[in-house]
Amino acid sequence: MMKKSRLIAVLLLLCLLFPLGAQGQAESGQQKEIELRWASIWVGNDSKAPAVEALVEEFNTKNAGKIKVVIEPQPDYNAYEQKVRTSLAAGQAPADIFTIKFNPTTATFYQSNLLMDFQGKLDDAWKGTFDAGSLEQSTVDGMLKSLPMETAILPIWYNMDAMKSVGVNAMPATEQQMFSAFDKLKAAGIAPTSQMTGDTNAWTSMIWFSHFAVSLGGPNVWDKPFTDPAFVEAANLIKRMIQEYSTADAVGLGAGGSGGHFLAGRTAVFSNGPWYAGRADLAATPFFDSIKIGGLPAVGEYEDIMISRLQANICAASSKDADKEQAIVDFLKFLTSPSSIAKIAETSGAMFAIKTDYRPVNNLQKQFYDANEAASTTAFDLEAALGAEVTLEFAQQLGALALDRISAEEFCALVDRKIER
């Protein structure tokens, strides 16, 4: 019995001593080399991972003994976002370098002193490499606390094999052609479009709605109150899409299910960003080579507007150490240089806010670049323009709208209440 209590005492003591031992190893090697920690989401099976890792290696070799960039791999995007906001709320930068998806919600981070303001660091030469519009979108109250890096357009995808099977040989150019093509698909037993109201953003339907809204209300439609006739009309259109031109499971369906229908050929028209073009499962479909992408035919007076978003903006931790801040700037200049970006684009097919001469060879990815250039104007999607809360309300009430539990006017009024002014 004495043995047992002594054992317990020893264990307790161990519990108390353990932290001290572990603490010691955290900070030891104090050298002159500046270490930059990058909480990177471009790791694992992400298509940008190999190129990004190679670039970091290249930079580290060039700056051996001076700067060393260490990638802290961040799998699972949701958990990563949670880590970023938790860390900032606890008064610490998540790492020296990290990325955010820029929208009105994440723009709140700009109020933090933990983030470096690039405004003073961005010399004209560096500034010139960025897309001016993206830079402007990333500027809040004169502060530039994140640099736009990855962008995306969110066009409409057509499975032309399915379209041709019902006698439609080209992407519809007008609203009338679109509905006539959808009616033909429907008559042939193919659900025309992949719609969904599930997850927290009703992703594919949110893209459709954004196309409708900007066509009806123009590229600045997001500045209007949500009760504007343009939104009511767009709500009626998206309701019609879900009720008449989609699969029976559209209400409550998640992004996985919505994509699954398109991959299986059960739906003929889809919507998503360039990352979807690089998927191995998409490449394995029999209709991969016949996919065409483009904008949605105008349903209102505004034409040729492409829906886009800032997919990843780079942030850096502010530091009292000028050398460290300079090291960060050096690395980011290297990372966002046109030659680096071209390398990342080459292997991933992603789109960037940094101008390069790179043109994809892959047919589908090339169409994304072409569609981007063909658009007369771009406008944000709903989530990028109005943030997480509004999008959540949109997704939740979209289900009620599609089930006729609320009218389009009520729908718009509910979403409007979530917009901060």
Binding site: L12, E81, G387, A400
Partner: protein
């Protein structure tokens, strides 16, 4: 007198020594964060910069919020279904297994298996099962000629559907009840056997009363889990459609997602306080499971 004093002091030091480790950990990981959460619930704070005192505005806003009201209702359904359906079912299974039917060891292990499988994978299975063209509708159509139904997409059935899937986790409470049932002395049953009591009578007269304490514990635990339920529903429906499956846990998570930290804290505090009241009420209702009082009977 002197001897009693030292003895008392000695007993108290022993008690404190035994309570200290658990209390310290609990203090750092529950009490301190709880007060931090309470504090932030009285401020307007979006996770950045300083906190501004806000009075009880967050609480007023929370109570008036239709989403929260919906979530609260859903949580009550969750808690009741877990405590009053899940646990009794688990108890029934435990009572069968304790009599060691054929293959009971294997069954005990297998029933527990779903608890070790990742929720992400299970959510994907259930979403597919409940799909309009999924196997559930196919079976119902074959058996009863029922029309296809969008189980998770209809606000009237979505909550039922996400709650029903918890039946596969029955092994969780079953192993607690089984472990407790196995501690019941065999002699009680042997005596009943001699008296000619049937199995059913034995279960009602011996097993259930002997399991009473554990039943109350598991029911309380099940209800608490129901109150803070989050992950499986979030993965299956995201809380929709039209907030039909939103729980307080989901509401809280989404508030943090939108950087509404102080409002998330308010939800958290509300959930903890309400839950504590329910637990205390339950203990008052069912009486204490203290053996000292039970044995006295």
């Amino acid at each position: 007198m002197q001897a009693v004093g030292t003895r008392n002091r000695w007993i108290w030091s022993a008690r404190i020594l035994f309570l200290l480790p658990v209390s310290l950990l609990f203090f750092f990981f529950f009490i301190y964060p709880f007060f931090f959460t309470v504090f932030t619930s009285f401020t307007s704070w979006r996770g950045i910069g300083s906190m501004k005192f806000n009075g009880v505005k967050n609480y007023a806003k929370l109570i008036a919020d239709p989403t929260f009201q919906k979530a609260l209702g859903n949580n009550i359904v969750w808690a009741l279904s877990q405590g009053l359906i899940q646990v009794p079912l688990a108890c029934l299974v435990a009572m069968i297994l304790v009599r060691k039917p054929f293959g009971w060891r294997g069954l005990r292990t297998i029933y527990y298996l779903p608890n070790v499988i990742s929720t992400v994978a299970l959510a994907m299975v259930w979403v597919a099962i409940y799909n309009v063209d999924g196997p559930l509708n196919a079976i119902l159509a074959d058996l009863f000629g029922m029309e296809k139904h969008n189980w998770l997409g209809n606000p009237d059935t979505a909550l039922f559907a996400v709650i029903f899937q918890t039946v596969i986790y029955i092994g969780y409470f079953m192993i607690v009840l089984l472990a407790s049932a196995m501690n019941i002395p065999r002699s009680l049953y042997e005596a009943a056997e001699i008296d000619g009591a049937s199995t059913l009578v034995q279960e009602i007269n011996i097993t259930l009363p002997m399991l009473r304490g554990t039943l109350i514990t598991t029911m309380t635990l099940a209800m608490a889990y129901g109150m803070r339920h989050f992950e499986a529903t979030f993965l299956m429906t995201g809380g929709g459609p039209a907030y039909a499956t939103t729980t307080m846990g989901i509401d809280l998570y989404l508030k943090m997602d939108a950087l509404r930290y102080s409002e998330a804290s308010t939800s958290g505090v509300f959930l903890i306080i309400m839950g504590t009241l329910v637990i205390t009420l339950l203990r008052k209702l069912f009486g204490s499971s203290d053996p000292m009082s039970e044995m006295a009977q």
